[in-house]
Symmetry: C3
Subunit: 337 residues, 3 copies
Amino acid sequence: MDSKKVVIGTLGSHSALQILKGAKDEGFPTLIVTIPKHKEFYKTFQFIDEVICIDSFSEFPSIENELIKRCVILIPHGSYVAYLGFEKNKNMKVKYFGNKNVLDWESDRDKQKEWLSTARINMPKQYELNDDISFPVIVKSHGAAGGNGYFLANDMTELKEKISTFEHKKYVIQQYIVGVNLYVHYFYSPLTKRLEIMSMDRRYETNVDSLGKIPHDIQKEIHINPSYVVVGNSELVLREGMLSKAYEMGRDVIEASKKLVDKRGLYGPFCLETIITPDQNFHVMEISCRIVAGTNLYINGSAYSWLNYNEPMSTGRRIAREIKKAIKENELDLLLD
Amino acid sequence: MDSKKVVIGTLGSHSALQILKGAKDEGFPTLIVTIPKHKEFYKTFQFIDEVICIDSFSEFPSIENELIKRCVILIPHGSYVAYLGFEKNKNMKVKYFGNKNVLDWESDRDKQKEWLSTARINMPKQYELNDDISFPVIVKSHGAAGGNGYFLANDMTELKEKISTFEHKKYVIQQYIVGVNLYVHYFYSPLTKRLEIMSMDRRYETNVDSLGKIPHDIQKEIHINPSYVVVGNSELVLREGMLSKAYEMGRDVIEASKKLVDKRGLYGPFCLETIITPDQNFHVMEISCRIVAGTNLYINGSAYSWLNYNEPMSTGRRIAREIKKAIKENELDLLLD
Amino acid sequence: MDSKKVVIGTLGSHSALQILKGAKDEGFPTLIVTIPKHKEFYKTFQFIDEVICIDSFSEFPSIENELIKRCVILIPHGSYVAYLGFEKNKNMKVKYFGNKNVLDWESDRDKQKEWLSTARINMPKQYELNDDISFPVIVKSHGAAGGNGYFLANDMTELKEKISTFEHKKYVIQQYIVGVNLYVHYFYSPLTKRLEIMSMDRRYETNVDSLGKIPHDIQKEIHINPSYVVVGNSELVLREGMLSKAYEMGRDVIEASKKLVDKRGLYGPFCLETIITPDQNFHVMEISCRIVAGTNLYINGSAYSWLNYNEPMSTGRRIAREIKKAIKENELDLLLD
């Protein structure tokens, strides 16, 4: 690839606006691949140089050669992985920002558990159906599905009944921890070996984030099935006395990945999805090994990024800056797969 | 009106600080009309050139001639409409940013319903008292009352009892949709025919946003009547895959207004107040045809405004910029009524 | 103290990052005193010139002479007071930003009540155990404990039982007010006698902010004890029509302190912790007479600070700017104790 001709590209959904705004701010040409229903919307943004439209996201591989010819570096995000699927993604030949070997460890719940355990990260208990389960539990489908298909169960009858009608084949039964959600967004630079906390968020989930507004009297009479579909994110900062712990969790995850995955390990943006209990402990439900949607709050920087940069620094822009630095230092291979 | 002497003015409440800060940033002289209890507070801000104090907001028409003489362009906001009332507002002669014909369509629930239907916008069901009502329902008074007087009813007895003591004469009985709230703030430029999403928010309502913190055991024993009085707003971003739909809803509302209201239709800032259900559908409860209080979060720009502007752009400033552009292009008549 | 050699220092926790980033932005050398578990984390920030590590925060007085020799001005925050304790703090000789006489009035619940009453501030009822108590009540330990040890009680049996096992000796029994929380962050300048609203926040408390997500059916079966441990903060703006009241409360608290405490009274950053009921009234639960953690959201400024400054202005930076101005005007004694 001719590093002077690099174009930053991504799939038109999830965090594409942030990624391409950041790329443009760092001086790159930008390209988006999207579907008809999003096309006109993405065309309204001046920082997107080119909009390529395909019929559905699953057809993405069909334009791969075009992207390779155009020197595109593809920035993956949650929807990218969800739409393409694991196998298609691994087989793509277009330059990919990130270490694809990490995907094996992230997508398999058992391997993810081994990874987090190696990093000495505290996790909720996971159960099999025939375990001695302590209820309530939350059942989650595999992959980045934005909370779609998650459900809560309070006893074995409810659990079995709901699982029997469960449309997603792969799932995990997780201890339901009573505590508040907090998602920590990290960036690890393979060039400088430096870890940064970029920002944090809490998810905005429908309908579960509206349940509390319905008084007891009415909840008693209308049965509401809680659902966990993520439709937005809102800002948060963490109690400062807990920040060093959050930072160490990120560092430990990186170090463990270098042992378990390969020498390069995890790098670039990633996220730990935590629940915090009243003893101020983090319980990590999941790791996401790429940019997460919660970073969309911080197009102009977060409380944390302003500590490290005297200019607006979104996670999207941070990715582009890493690529720019790698091009300058002739180290682009360190970043791409 | 001498366009070289334009002063941006508004009523001292609601979003006046944002409007006048934005006006000053765009180079306009600024004026506020307020009441004694707010006077000293507004005087602490350097970007407000003049504070005019009247005894009560309803006396506003008495200073109208003064404002006309001073070349004031009045920026309306939610409190402006609520304090003046529909008739007084329509009869004012001072230059008004916006199309007053829109007021007829916004203030009448049936016309608003026709408008949103024409725009193919999804709405909660509305009931009459003798309909076959599917409970729970939320009952809302007409006009911009900041959630004051809204109530929830779970059966016909409760509904009739509460309505009988209802202080507001006009109301609407709306299906209570279980889902999360999200308010989308738009700006449509009559000069460029371009629509922008400026920002989003969720409301902070007392006491309903504190109900969930009270455990079931205690809610059972102390009966709490939920209330929906808006006392603040907090930040949000929307899942990016739903943004193009949010954008289209705004566009469709503008287009429908050009058919139904008049050739100019709705322009400037407006807001769709939505509830999002787990199927990721928007249900629009209401349209507000002017600047809403949720934009007060974004004095220095929002995640969305930073995508379109490389400088801080609040909705208040966006209004002033439109006026500035219109003055330059000698098109001020397009904006004012 | 040689005012040309001033170093801004604080304890490494709570809001230290904000304080020292602000100090550096105003041109001061910076120093942090922290404990081993936070040391590496604080070393990652370029705006911290020196990290001093002590074994535990309670050993802070042992390095006092060193700090005095180095011309350190110490900026106190919530953890500073909690870790050192009242007596140690009062006896420290290192230059302290703030009026230490205020501590007597803040730390004693009866004196605080007298102070707020003098300022005509609305407060929740406080009860003694043998009062005729109207339940529910919330019981709070004294001092800045981040919500740790707070509990809710719904009748006398529960209250007595919980108090009997209460680890904190000093506590207050407060009427539980059903309404939304809002914390107002002020700064009062002793140099200009000007009061500013810097920002606002709501706390993020575990587990109480996650209770509402658990449906009625499940809360009925699993008993959850609500807890109020603050682990984060999120952004808010207040309805503009209530801002002048918020401003006046701050002003009245300052004026009352000049009568009750001493001529200087309270100055610098402080916070009123309010609950807002549906009648739009503020109920002030507590006053914090120093920088609070909620300001950590606004490293790059808040909606309110952007109204007053055309540059990013956190509360931490505002403190440093006051010190800078005092040095220039040879008035440093007005600020320090």
